[in-house]
């Protein structure tokens, strides 16, 4: 399964990197893309996945709220799950994170830094590969 393969690919690098998301977060300057993706996976899991993850929603809902909203919005033209999207670079993610969208509120730099958003983008590049 795609997700399991990504887990295996990223897990091998996980022990190399200290991980946080907002507070005090700074991407190491020499980090390789894979390092950014590993950090981004952790940030995604902590900051995004509860709404935009691929698991089921609560109490019988087939999808989590953010994933479900995007699934309905795009009507199948694009995946509802962000981890399957191939079109999300850091600037696009930053726009939605900082400005929100409908029910999704804005996120502050103190809770999700620009560097963390860059890492999320790096992770989504990896996660969306078949």
């Amino acid at each position: 399964m795609t997700i399991i393969r990504h887990h295996a690919r990223l897990a091998a690098l996980a022990s190399l990197i200290a991980l946080t998301s907002g507070a005090g977060y700074a991407a190491p300057k020499k980090a390789a893309d894979t390092g950014a993706a590993v950090r981004g996976k952790l940030v995604f899991e902590r900051q995004c996945a509860a709404c935009h993850g691929q698991g089921p929603g609560d109490d019988g809902s087939p999808r989590l709220p953010g994933t479900d909203a995007l699934q309905r919005k795009y009507g199948g033209a694009m995946p509802g799950a962000l981890e399957k999207r191939t079109d999300l670079n850091a600037e696009i993610i930053r726009t939605f994170v900082r400005h929100g969208s409908g029910p999704m509120p804005m996120f502050r730099k103190a809770e999700l830094s620009d560097a963390a958003i860059d890492d999320i983008a790096a992770y989504l590049k990896v996660s969306s590969k078949p």
Partner: protein, 538 residues
């Protein structure tokens, strides 16, 4: 959109910002329009209007000493501060302040779980710790402890409890402020204070005996503005061995009177967790004839509702019960509940629900195996943080008005009728109050009902209607003795106005305290309807 703090020139504001940068680092002082965008209330019905409350800057300290430094600098320039923890107080103002021009003190970087004690069942946390964080920490350490979290779970134990938020497990934990034990506070002069046993140097019981000696001022910091809470203790639920659910239905509307009485007994005797009340007749609200009956001016008669229920083959009311504890205890408590209800109410029926050992498996958390349509949200019931509830958020969010009412069916019927009639003019919104509206038994010893009109940022006329409806709801409810428990800054004065016994003696007392400890209004002036003399209208 740039705004200045009250009574401060642009030049002095620039000086103050320079001092904040020197105190906490330039990366953690935010004053650009872009950076301040996320400090607006994304659920605001007054977005982009003169009524919207906007911050002039935000500062994000990393530790308590920096919080103290911020308060002292703010005092020097007489700048109001507005503290937030994780900033997720949506429906009640989000991270936005009471006073335009305030500087938001964003405490997200104070994010340490300082203590977790399994044997004595408590936690000591900082404000930036979310319920997700606390849950993860307990899981990572493998502790047999359960948290009681709100739904959604991205708020912080400190922020939520200071808003008097609630959860969904046992009564002694659902009241989050009630389950707190000991706090550390930066006072308006920058001094550090600890409450309860925390005031006794060397004490080891800060999270076990909340009172210490003498008056306990901790209540002043909930929905108040007397300091910035930087640490807070919470009692935790030793994780029960077993979880069991059951559903009870009663056929007639008036049966609900006895059902509520028995449920109160079960809850007050600590025999069960949150009782989720519901009317199966709510499923008929899509039918115009029934909707007309359920919203009839003056309220429908019992006979008419019973006839509609009978015709639809539905019971009039139901309660979802849930039990925690040893397996045998949960079985005995459920058997006792069934016996009490079925012997007292003719026609009542009981259905066994799920029963399993804790912690729940992922499949059990999905809540797909109840043999009936359940109103229980399983994540919340088991203290597992989730954002699944966000599916109910439409458009640009909603507001929250949750009037407190007595735990009796008569009070439920009265609120249904009074609020339905009063809000009838706002017929472009859903009828939150009708003959099927169920009470929430979230707070341990009171019912609440929910009024949560949606907000549409691009539709000012709609938002204006929502704003007027909120004010009317507050006023009408208060005229019947029902008060709101929590409000967004734009409604806090209106709600505070309704708590007016003896010519607002309570508010005048709070104002006296505020004038004494924070005459310049450095800490959140206006929060909770409490204004210092500097800001009070004569």
């Amino acid at each position: 959109m740039a705004v200045l703090p009250p009574d401060l020139s642009a030049a002095d504001f620039a000086k103050a910002l320079a001092e904040f940068r020197a105190a906490i680092g330039p990366d953690w002082v935010f004053s650009s329009e872009d950076d301040l965008g996320p400090y607006r209330d994304s659920f605001s019905p007054v977005w982009d209007t003169q009524k919207e409350r906007l911050a002039s800057a935000a500062v994000a300290p990393a530790n308590v000493e920096q919080v103290q430094a911020i308060v002292r600098i703010a005092g020097k320039y007489r700048i109001p501060l507005f503290p937030i923890s994780t900033g997720k107080n949506f429906g009640y103002g989000g991270p936005s302040p009471n006073v335009t021009g305030s500087i938001v003190v964003d405490l997200k970087r104070l994010n340490q779980v300082l203590e977790l004690d399994e044997a004595r069942a408590f936690a000591l946390v900082e404000p930036g710790v979310s319920y997700f964080d606390l849950y993860r920490e307990i899981e990572a350490r493998g502790l047999k402890l359960m948290i009681d979290c709100p739904d959604p779970g991205w708020g912080s134990p400190i922020g939520n409890s200071l808003e008097r938020g609630i959860g969904y497990t046992m009564p002694s934990f659902r009241d989050h402020f009630g389950a707190s034990c000991g706090m550390e506070v930066v006072l308006p002069n920058g001094e550090l204070m600890r409450t309860g046993m925390g005031a006794l140097p060397g004490s080891k019981t800060w999270q076990e005996y909340k009172y210490g000696f003498g008056p306990d001022p901790s209540g002043l910091f909930a929905q108040g503005n007397f300091g910035i809470v930087t640490k807070m203790g919470f009692r935790l639920y030793p994780r029960p061995d077993f979880y069991r659910t059951g559903l009870v239905t009663v056929p007639r509307r008036r049966d609900y009177v006895k059902l509520v009485e028995i449920c109160n007994y079960l809850s007050d005797s600590m025999l069960c967790g949150e009782i989720v009340h519901g009317s199966p007749l709510a499923a008929l609200m899509g039918k115009p004839d029934f909707a007309a009956l359920a919203t009839k001016l003056g309220g429908p008669s019992d006979a008419d509702i019973d006839a509609a229920a009978s015709a639809a083959g539905l019971p009039s009311w139901q309660v979802d019960l849930q039990f925690f504890g040893p397996e045998a205890t949960t079985a005995a408590n459920w058997a006792h509940a069934k016996d009490m209800i079925l012997s007292a109410i003719p026609g009542a029926k009981a259905i066994d629900g799920d029963a399993f050992a804790l912690p729940a498996t992922p499949a059990q958390l999905e809540n797909k195996t109840q043999p009936y349509r359940s109103g229980i949200r399983r994540h919340g019931a088991l203290g597992v943080p989730s954002l699944g509830i966000w599916k109910i958020v439409r458009d640009d969010g909603h507001l929250g008005f949750f009037p407190v009412l007595p735990r009796s069916a008569e009070a439920v019927f009265e609120m249904q009728r009074v609020m339905c009639d009063a809000l009838r003019e706002f017929d472009k919104m859903p009828s939150f109050f009708n003959a099927t509206t169920a009470p929430l038994h979230w707070h341990s010893y009171a019912f609440q009902m929910v009024y949560a009109p949606g907000v549409k940022r691009g539709d000012p006329a709609h938002n204006d209607m929502v704003d007027r409806a909120m004010h009317k709801a507050v006023t009408v409810a208060a005229a019947h003795g029902w008060g709101d428990y929590r409000a967004a800054p734009i409604y806090q004065d209106a709600v505070s106005d309704t708590y007016s016994f003896n010519n607002h003696a309570l508010r005048r007392f709070h104002e006296s305290l505020k004038d004494a400890v924070d005459p310049d209004g450095i800490i959140a002036p206006g929060r909770g309807g409490i204004w210092p003399k500097r800001f009070r209208k004569s």
